[in-house]
């Protein structure tokens, strides 16, 4: 049969929207609104490139200018980071904000990089895969700095423990975090599990990864050197991605159409494990000039960022991209968020060796383009140009908004309704009963149902993990040099006062790290908020950043990077502002770290810091009275610093038997946890004299036990070292409140409870809900 004449009319093949075609068809209707662009943003794109964008260009701009990739609502407030970073703070920073992850000098030629990111919305839709790919994504960020990933953490927030949807979301998220992390072989060394009704329709799944490398091995995401090859390697590209991709799919095809596009990305931790080892071999061989992970916005992001950060342009032939689904259109390939992919820039003379290494690991690698002179990112499809743009305009010069902000009107009333009027327990028996209630409450109960699903030992360098105050891992096997990390945020405090609450989160993470014996060095943050279009939320956001930035300046530890997650809300109702803060500290020898549990009898127990009447926003008010109101505890960063110095110094001298920070649930919970850890009791005395209210009157024992004043820690020191320890304390307020030993937590004159009873109150909450 002779083709063209007699064949039935083929369905009109969609015309390839080349640059040429776009230039000659300026008036074509384009789906910019469906892709989430605003009219002025679309106009802006036309102005930048001097014509209408091709469909491929439109795809790139729309994903790169999305809130997630461009930080368009938040960027304007980021200048607070810079303004609050002193030269002294910068000195320790080998790479600062703006790269895939910041890098900190920890001494002896070692560098560490760490970052926390959110994967909230995908984890609500498909808890297992959402959480798994969240872990996978942050690990690639760390790899792309040239580091070997050495540990992960997972700050998690869920709705009500007893809500049926929590039964769906929590086990899936936990299995996903574990499924990915365990299979890829990274120890999970900590995180958070918080339950609050505000997260019911919008749980928070944040993931942190830390990596280590020699200082000289730092790699950056840039494409330089004309003629250098651009290589895509790792998994094949499929139609994975949410939102935009499906818009494009339906845009281009009316009927019959291509295969369906998945709404959910599926992670392949095995592929990523192989990718890690492969990348490390590539780095060791010195064959990588620039490197970038593929995460949100996939190839659009990787190509435009690499080109934008380099000194030339880039040319890519998109049809060379290995596909999992042959029906993908070029614009879809650009937007696909398929996991477990990386992009490298490689000098031609290293190409052969590069390919030999990827072959050895059975990793598919394809040269898809090269670095060019000039300043354009040019992408072709079977030789025809479909993208020709200035890469900076895609990657770094997206829109920025100065959105209106306003202090929410409800705050006055909320701040006025403190806990003073709430009924407090009067007798020792009542205090005892409330202690047990709190110990079994969702936020304070034993989390091992969750954390036992995570491998905390793999790699053999874990010195501390859950349930201690921070995760501590060795970096250098010769010397024991290593790092400690803690993530924290009490979002009830941020709800009451975002500035103070954010500083309290910073202070808590700082304190946790110091409690383990590490000197705090640097900060990462994951800012989880509601809609930026709500002025109240925007105000919370700005206040939180201000709190963190000013707090960091005071403490002398720089923010190295982080992540912003907006639109965490159900209908009009936003979650509590939740700026999760991760603090990283360094230690010369992590075998000297302090654990949180009492270990032996007859150690002296000290309470360091000042206890005030601070029950507003506390766990006690939340659990016992379902109350949230008043003002959060006072922040005293001078006191935090002094406390931190003592804790680090004491650990270094090897005289600490246990150290535990005080946070949710205050002294009572800290004591109970220290006893339960290794089954060693404590006799506590003299609490009646310990704290004072604003007028200088002594606090009642209940308030002393449950207040959540910050800048406090519990330390146990063997009697023989007590004098040495006291000499270290300087002007840090302190009191010797007890002696370890026995099998009970005995608060003399008030109540006594056996460690066994503490444990049975503590252990069964999660198993009762999720099964044994």
């Amino acid at each position: 049969m002779s083709e063209t004449q007699t064949a039935p009319a083929a369905p009109a093949a969609p015309v390839l929207d080349t640059v040429e075609h776009a230039a000659s068809t300026p008036d074509v209707e384009q789906p910019w609104a469906e892709l989430g662009l605003k009219p002025d943003e679309y106009a802006n794109i036309r102005e930048i490139i001097g014509r209408r964008p091709t469909i491929a260009e439109l795809a790139m701009y729309s994903v790169m200018w999305s809130e997630h990739c461009s930080y368009k609502s938040s960027k304007i407030h980021f200048k607070l980071w810079g303004e609050n970073t002193t030269d002294e703070m910068r000195e320790k920073l080998l790479v600062g904000i703006g790269e895939n992850a910041g890098v900190v000098d920890i001494g002896d030629g070692w560098a560490v990089t760490f970052k926390v990111e959110s994967h909230n919305h995908p984890s609500y839709i498909e808890p297992y895969q959402g959480a798994a790919t969240g872990v996978g994504g942050i690990i690639r960020d760390i790899m792309s700095m040239g580091a070997r990933p050495i540990a992960v953490m997972d700050p998690l927030r869920f709705g009500n423990l007893h809500h049926p949807d929590t039964q769906r979301v929590l086990p899936g998220v936990v299995a996903g975090v574990g499924g990915y992390g365990n299979c890829i072989g990274l120890p999970n060394i900590g995180g958070e599990v918080v339950f609050d009704d505000c997260y019911q329709g919008n749980p928070l799944v944040n993931a942190l990864c830390v990596g280590a490398m020699r200082v000289e091995d730092i790699h950056l995401a840039k494409a330089s050197g004309v003629g250098n090859k651009v290589i895509l390697f790792g998994a094949r590209t499929g139609g994975d991605g949410i939102g935009g991709v499906s818009v494009l799919a339906s845009e281009t095809f009316d009927e019959g159409g291509p295969t369906k596009r998945p709404a959910v990305q599926v992670g392949d931790p095995f592929a990523e494990k192989v990718l890690i080892e492969c990348c490390l071999d590539l780095y060791a061989a010195g064959v990588v000039d620039g490197i970038q992970d593929l995460g949100g916005a996939g190839l659009s992001c990787a190509t435009s960022e690499l080109a934008s950060n380099g000194d030339g342009g880039m040319q890519v032939e998109l049809s060379l991209v290995p596909l999992r689904d042959a029906s993908l259109q070029p614009q879809e390939i650009l937007m696909s968020e398929s996991q477990e992919r990386m992009m490298a820039v490689v000098e031609p003379k290293h190409l052969e060796q590069f390919m030999a290494i990827t072959d050895r690991w059975d990793v598919e690698a394809t040269v898809i383009g090269e670095v060019t002179d000039g300043e354009h990112l040019v992408i072709t499809w079977h030789g025809e140009t479909i993208v020709d743009v200035p890469p900076r305009s895609v990657a770094h010069e997206g829109p920025t908004y100065d959105r209106p902000l306003a202090r929410p009107a409800y705050l006055d009333e909320l701040n006025a309704s403190g806990t003073a009027a709430l009924a407090k327990p009067q007798t020792g028996d009542e205090i005892r009963a409330q202690l047990l209630t709190l110990l079994g409450s969702p936020n304070l109960c034993d989390k091992s149902w969750i954390t036992d699903q995570y491998d905390r030992y793999v790699l053999g360098n874990t010195a501390l993990a859950q349930p201690d105050d921070s995760g501590v891992v060795r970096v250098d096997e010769e010397t024991g040099r290593g790092v400690a990390i803690s993530t924290d945020c009490n979002s009830r405090f941020t709800k009451l006062d975002p500035y103070t609450g954010a500083q309290l989160a910073l202070a808590e993470a700082y304190r946790n790290v110091a409690t383990s014996g590490a000197a705090p060095l640097a900060v990462t943050d994951c800012l989880n908020f509601g809609s930026p279009e709500d002025p109240g939320v925007m105000w919370q956001f700005r206040e939180s950043i201000r709190g963190i930035a000013e707090g960091c300046k005071f403490l002398g530890i720089p923010v190295t990077g982080g992540n912003v997650s907006f639109y965490n809300q159900t209908g009009d109702v936003a979650i509590h502002p939740t700026p999760v803060i991760g603090v990283l500290g360094g230690m010369d020898d992590v075998s000297k770290r302090s654990g949180s549990g009492f270990r032996s009898d007859d150690a002296h127990v000290y309470l360091l810091g000042t206890t005030r009447d601070e029950l507003d926003g506390s766990e006690w008010a939340h659990v016992v009275h379902k109350h949230l109101g008043g003002v959060p505890p006072q922040v005293d960063l001078t006191a935090e610093q002094a406390l931190g110095r003592v804790l680090v110094e004491a650990a270094r001298s090897g005289i600490v038997e246990a150290a535990h920070d005080l946070s949710e649930g205050g002294l009572a919970i800290a004591l109970a946890e220290a006893c339960m850890r290794h089954g060693v009791g404590v006799t506590v005395d003299g609490l009646d004299q310990l704290g004072a209210d604003a007028d200088g009157n002594p606090l009642d024992v209940f308030t002393t036990l449950f207040s959540e004043s910050s800048a406090r820690a519990l330390v146990a020191v063997p009697a023989g070292h007590a004098a040495e320890f006291e000499a270290l304390l300087g002007d840090v307020p302190h009191a010797r409140i007890g002696v370890t030993g026995g099998r009970d937590l005995d608060v003399v004159g008030h109540f006594s409870v056996s460690v066994a009873e503490l444990r049975s109150a503590h252990q069964f909450t999660l198993p009762a809900v999720f099964g044994g």
Binding site: G179, P269, Y457, V458, G460, N461, T462, R474, S591
Partner: protein, 231 residues
């Protein structure tokens, strides 16, 4: 004294096993899954991890790696082999050890400090222990339930080839539903040992629940030195 440690794609605890060998005085030799070459080592460790993602069945694909073509006959000829966790799964899939490991009965991955009883202290890898000794090492897996038919179980018991048993909890349960609380077994000759828990995570003070894992590595090192001396 050279102990080979095999790396499959997806092996995770290979570096840890090598470190444990070194910590206990041996030389660790990396072996690559793709090479049918044991490099003249005196013993081999198949480490923990998720070889090939453990996607089909744990250890099922690793079994067919070229290195196994060399290892299986060597093990049958008496070369000491220790399979830890995924390595144990590879050994059962290769039929060097009987039985199989299935999904934990509670269906969750489980990472705990686990008490074990050493039942057989005369294998190549356990001679530094005493029979009846209790040790605590790390257990971490999703598919650690040891199963076999009754006959096989009886043979294992009868021939003293159960090497480790979990110490059951107060309710008489072990951590993964293993039949007869079996945590580790050996072959007839006593040179091939497989177990789910991880001795390599209990060899250094400050990194792991105890130092009880050292016995595995000191046993094999001593035994090799002795047999070299008598040879």
């Amino acid at each position: 004294m050279k102990v080979g440690v095999v790396t499959f794609p997806g092996s995770l605890d290979d570096r840890d096993a090598a470190r444990a060998v070194r910590e206990c005085g041996g030389e660790a030799v990396p072996l690559w899954h793709g090479d049918a070459d044991l490099k003249g080592v005196d013993a081999v460790i198949l480490p923990g991890g998720f070889s090939y993602g453990d996607y089909l069945r744990c250890g099922a694909i690793a079994r067919f790696a070229p290195v196994m073509d060399a290892l299986v006959p060597a093990a049958q000829g008496g070369l000491p082999v220790l399979g830890i966790c995924n390595g144990f799964q590879v050994l059962t899939e290769s039929h060097l050890l009987p039985g199989a490991l299935i999904r934990n009965d509670h269906r969750k991955f489980n990472c705990v400090d686990q008490r074990l009883v050493v039942e057989n202290a005369s294998t190549a890898w356990t001679s530094d222990f005493e029979a009846g000794q209790e040790i605590t090492i790390v257990l971490k897996n999703g598919e650690g339930g040891f199963v076999a038919d009754e006959k096989t179980l009886d043979v294992l018991e009868g021939e003293g080839r159960v090497v480790f048993r979990y110490v059951p909890d107060a309710d008489g349960r072990n951590p993964n539903g293993s039949y007869r609380h079996i945590a580790g077994i050996t072959n007839e000759r006593g040179n091939v040992v497989g177990l789910m828990p991880h001795p390599e995570h209990a060899v250094e003070a400050g990194y792991g629940p105890s130092l009880d894992g050292r016995g595995f590595f000191t046993s094999i090192i001593k035994q090799t030195l002795e047999s070299a001396a008598t040879a």
